[in-house]
Symmetry: D2
Subunit: 118 residues, 4 copies
């Protein structure tokens, strides 16, 4: 088995879809909806938990959540592949942007959104 990395995974997911003739359903629009559907399932795991409870899941719940996170990653990678976007590279670029938008000295301990700073 090849090394696990998101480029390898993305290729396997594309092959999985092609083998099932599912690429016809995998428009970016549809994949964005599927991603959001999985995100909704993630929320359902946490909606009635306190923040503290959400940090100390039991093993069964943790595995269920792990598989939801997996589903989100899967659709995210499918979207990147269909749009020809390198999401990992975009995330590094976005992180650099966040570094400049939220200087540590200015925002320490404050979670307000960027547009709320003057």
């Amino acid at each position: 088995m090849s090394v696990q990395n998101i480029h390898d995974l993305s290729e396997r997911l594309a092959a999985f879809a092609r083998a099932r003739d599912w690429e016809q359903f995998h428009s970016p629009k549809n994949l964005a909806m599927a991603l959001a559907g999985e995100t909704g399932e993630l929320l359902e795991h946490f909606q009635w938990l306190s923040e503290a409870q959400s940090s100390s899941l039991d093993a069964e719940k943790k595995e269920a959540v792990a598989l939801e996170l997996a589903d989100i990653l899967i659709y995210l990678l499918r979207l990147g592949e269909r749009l020809d976007v390198d999401i990992l590279d975009a995330a590094y670029r976005k992180m650099a942007l966040n570094e400049s938008r939220y200087p540590a000295d200015k925002v320490r301990g404050d979670a307000r959104r960027a547009e709320e700073y003057d």
Copy 2:
């Protein structure tokens, strides 16, 4: 600069949060909400487009979408870090599960959900 991969990115994101004393806000519950908020922004890019239009974005729109996908990956990795879940490994496990749930011969060209099959 180190090689780009999601484990490196995840560590950088954790360091970014620690430097801003933002880990207090990063409970799994809150991060799941933030992930869903970004997913909502993604949907807004596609909601009035046809499926065909969603497959042929112009360069400006494509970059805007890329940064939304980046935000989703960022929160997804933060969630994995806070929950001590290896999302990439979970995605490989989930893909193996999908291989057995959706045999290519049975589901070719059919997008119904697994529970709708007998």
Copy 3:
């Protein structure tokens, strides 16, 4: 039975929650998550359908979707009650705002978002 209207329904929903000692879980934060979870379920019904198919659901699917819409309305009304917001009144105000932001003569046949107009 009293006349069906959203104020009556909202009161019944509050009584339902009180009788189960569930108001402790019904913070606005949690209810927003529950609302989003139900919205995710709604998306799952439509994600692989074409727009045309989404307009001609069979009776079984239509009823399933109707109950998802019901769940969304239920959490929406719970949120309004907990926040002391009259959502119906807010919707009339928002519609008046939309009338002025999107003059029919200017936007006819064009679905771009308001901020994209000059």
Copy 4:
């Protein structure tokens, strides 16, 4: 002005869309995405707040949240109109279903989902 109620509002929203030739964009699929996009905006207001903070919004934030709830109701009613579903009636039916699924004596103070009860 006529009495405020959701049937009147729904008719006004349909007229608003027709006057702008926007019904071409208002497939149920697209409206479900728009509803989910607005739900994402709602989450963003609450994601970094504690549950207690979410219950005591200041006036400015409360009005911003009220307008998000309004947007959600607007798209919900559009969906009901396009699908020919009476959402208010469906909500009463769903509430009756919830009454039988969650007897007060059995679930008092317990927020687990129905399928987790035996």
